[in-house]
């Protein structure tokens, strides 16, 4: 589904990704771990198509098509979804109308008519219930004044609405208390199928207790330096990242 080969990317002439290789197949869950500043969030943004990042070398393909020249919205239309580490506040646009616009623009790109209002409402209610989101919350301005937990829950709500093929969860666990974490992880698990894939970016093992990865990769200095199974995450939790740094530097 997603194939990344020798990916180099930089922002403002500062090289951040320095040769990432990664393949994610349908049905798989991959965890990306690593110390601060190693390039985890950059990788997420580059896959989603953030323009500030320049791909200097290598390629990203999604379902056998090069996507690194595509605009962010075109990648979204193909089924790439990024749950933001810091969801942006958009005053004046309600949660409901934002998601309505997003869904109908995606449908438009696929040559489909707008979703009938009745179906939209039904879908919104269904997915809001899945994430245990209060109905009143849906008419508030997007992310404005939301708590950390509300913001993340709203991200997964949008993911549930858009039903992406590849969901990239960028530090979705940060700022969540244990109850919110459980709700969010539950939501992700319910949306999981053999046809879609999830890439979980996290510092900590905690989230991986709920969203169990098939593979764990460690990024350090813009490269994947170690890959393994979920046991690698447990090892990292126990021993920290220093031994990895030492191994790489040696």
């Amino acid at each position: 589904m997603l194939k990344i080969e020798n990916l180099h990317a930089s922002v403002e002439d500062k090289s951040i990704l320095q040769g990432i290789n990664l393949e994610i197949k349908p049905g798989e869950v991959h965890a990306i771990m690593g110390p601060n500043g190693s390039g985890k969030s950059t990788l997420a943004s580059v896959i989603a198509g953030k323009e500030e990042y320049e791909v200097t070398k290598g390629s990203i393909s999604f379902e056998d098509e090069d996507i690194d020249e595509l605009a962010a919205e075109e990648r979204a239309h193909k089924g790439v979804f990024l749950s933001f580490q810091y969801p942006v506040e958009i005053p004046g646009v309600s949660v409901t109308n934002f998601i309505k616009t997003a869904i109908n623009e995606s449908r438009k790109a696929q040559g489909l008519e707008d979703m009938p209002a009745k179906d939209m409402l039904k879908l919104i209610r269904e997915k809001a219930d899945l994430l245990e989101i209060d109905r009143k919350f849906l008419s508030r301005s997007l992310n404005e004044g939301f708590s950390g937990g509300e913001k993340k829950r709203n991200e997964i709500f949008q993911m549930a609405m858009l039903e992406p093929k590849l969901a990239i969860l960028d530090e979705t666990d940060s700022g969540l208390d244990i109850d919110a974490l459980r709700i969010v992880a539950n939501g992700v698990n319910k949306l999981k199928s053999k046809d879609n894939a999830v890439m979980v970016i996290t510092h900590y093992q905690r989230l991986l207790d709920y969203i169990v990865p098939d593979y764990v990769h460690v990024i350090y200095n813009g490269k994947i330096v170690k890959s393994g199974t979920k046991d690698l995450a447990l090892e990292l939790e126990e021993k920290g990242y220093d031994w990895i740094k030492e191994e790489v530097n040696a």
Binding site: A71, R75, F81, V88, F98, I99, T101
Partner: protein, 437 residues
């Protein structure tokens, strides 16, 4: 012959043609003298520092459009608020169009200025109100000298006017260039409520210069909601001079939706002549191309315990220019005044310009006055966020801009009007999304 000379010599011809009522005649004669003395404003004057009339004054305007032009309703329906029942006062090239209008004398007067200026039964009202709010500045004076047609609205006491009143001026472009000077007089007596929509619409790309004066008198506890839709052709210029005198406990609001023509200048003046008055001035300005819009507002707090609220949002693209000059005067007697002013702008192009200047003159010591202006750009991180959810760049920008102007739109009390403005905004931003936020 330049425009000023042409206007001065035309005045002689004009005075010969109209009925000479002594009061109006005297007012007109004084006004033309004032205009002769002052001439057109130039950038040397502080209030016109950022707006030059030079270019638009160079056209060879026809001052009295000659023929009466017929328009078919179906061809111009889209400029009306047609999905609700309204009174309509419609003018084509400055002349009243009876077949497009729907006026009334049933318990109130929603009719013509020409009738009010000439018929004896209106004489008292004219003597009491005509030119009693307009200032003696050059452009209002020029309008006063030539005033002959426009809307005359007189709402008696204790009347809730259920249907909004639309005042629409069409220009057909039958002359190579046209100058229009509409004059509106609106008197709303005690406890009455009226909603008015005003629009100027040119139907061709021939130059039009409209120098309009509207005088509004809101009596005790009257409520006046006034909406100005400015979305004209690229060769149409408008100088709007509006003067509102409010008596105690009255509430007047003016929403100006400035989507531009060529050059637009809004001189909007509120005078609070009583206690516990509320004055509301709101505006959304969205410009592109080389459009120029200048909002020049004045709120004069004369008596204690009054409020004023100003909220203007501007979005400037391409080579457009915006000006906001908001003046608040709080007289020494006007204690406990609450005056708020905010002007927020987004520049979406490197070549667009906004000049914003608050001007507060406060002589009372127990008042709350605040003003703030901001100039920014669209939030890049918000744009990426929206695009990553599948909303294309153009639509994402439009949505952000719409959301930015939404708290001005949300105070529009006529739902159909709000829908219409929303459509115009979507059109202006080149997108086809509903924005039902």
């Amino acid at each position: 012959m330049d425009l000023k000379e042409k206007l001065l010599s035309s005045f002689m011809v004009f005075e010969d043609k109209v009925d000479i009522d002594t009061y109006v005649h005297d007012v007109r004669s004084d006004a033309i003298k004032t205009f002769e003395e002052k001439g057109f404003p130039t950038k040397k004057q502080e209030a016109w520092k950022y707006t030059s009339l030079n270019k638009i004054l160079k056209e060879d305007y026809s001052v009295f459009p000659k023929q009466e032009n017929a328009l078919e309703y179906k061809d111009i329906k889209k400029y009306f608020l047609y999905d609700i029942d309204t009174y309509k006062i419609v003018f084509i090239d400055g002349k009243y169009s009876s077949h497009l209008s729907q006026t009334t004398h049933d318990g109130m007067d929603v009719c013509l200025m020409s009738a009010a200026l000439s018929k004896p039964k209106y004489r008292l009202v004219i003597e009491n109100y005509f030119n009693k709010a307009a200032t003696k500045d050059s452009l209002p004076s020029l309008n006063t000298a030539f005033s002959s047609e426009g809307a005359y609205i007189h709402i008696p006491k204790n009347k809730l006017v259920e249907k909004p009143i639309q005042i629409i001026h069409f220009s057909t472009g039958n002359e190579s260039a046209t100058m229009l000077q509409p004059r509106n007089l609106i008197v709303v007596e005690e406890n009455s409520h009226v909603q008015i929509i005003e629009r100027h619409q040119s139907l061709t790309n021939n130059p039009v210069l409209t120098n309009s004066v509207t005088e509004i008198f809101a009596k005790k506890r009257a409520i006046v909601d006034y909406y100005k839709i400015q979305n004209d052709s690229k060769e149409a210029s408008l100088i709007d001079n509006t003067f509102i005198k409010q008596r105690q406990e009255s509430v007047c609001s003016v929403h100006t939706f400035a989507f531009g023509g060529k050059l637009t200048r809004n001189n909007l003046n509120f005078y609070q002549e009583g206690q516990r008055i509320d004055s509301i001035l709101k505006g959304v300005t969205i410009l592109g191309d080389k459009q120029h819009v200048d909002h020049n507002t004045l709120v004069h707090h004369i008596e204690p315990n009054c409020e004023s609220h100003q909220d203007y949002k501007g979005i400037f693209g391409e080579n457009s220019t915006g000006v906001f000059n908001g003046k608040i005067i709080v007289e020494k007697e006007a204690q406990k005044t609450n005056a708020f002013q905010s002007n927020n702008n987004i520049l979406v192009s490197d070549k667009a310009t906004i000049n914003t200047k608050p001007q507060l003159e406060i002589f009372a010591d127990d008042v709350k006055c605040s003003h703030g202006c901001t100039i920014g750009q669209l939030d890049e991180s918000a744009l990426f966020y929206m695009r990553s959810r599948g909303i294309p760049e153009k639509e994402a920008k439009a949505l952000l801009m719409y959301a930015f102007s939404n708290n001005v739109l949300s105070s529009v009390k006529i739902p159909e009007m709000k829908q219409r403005i929303t459509k115009i905004i979507a059109n202006k931003l080149g997108v086809n999304i509903g924005f039902d936020l």
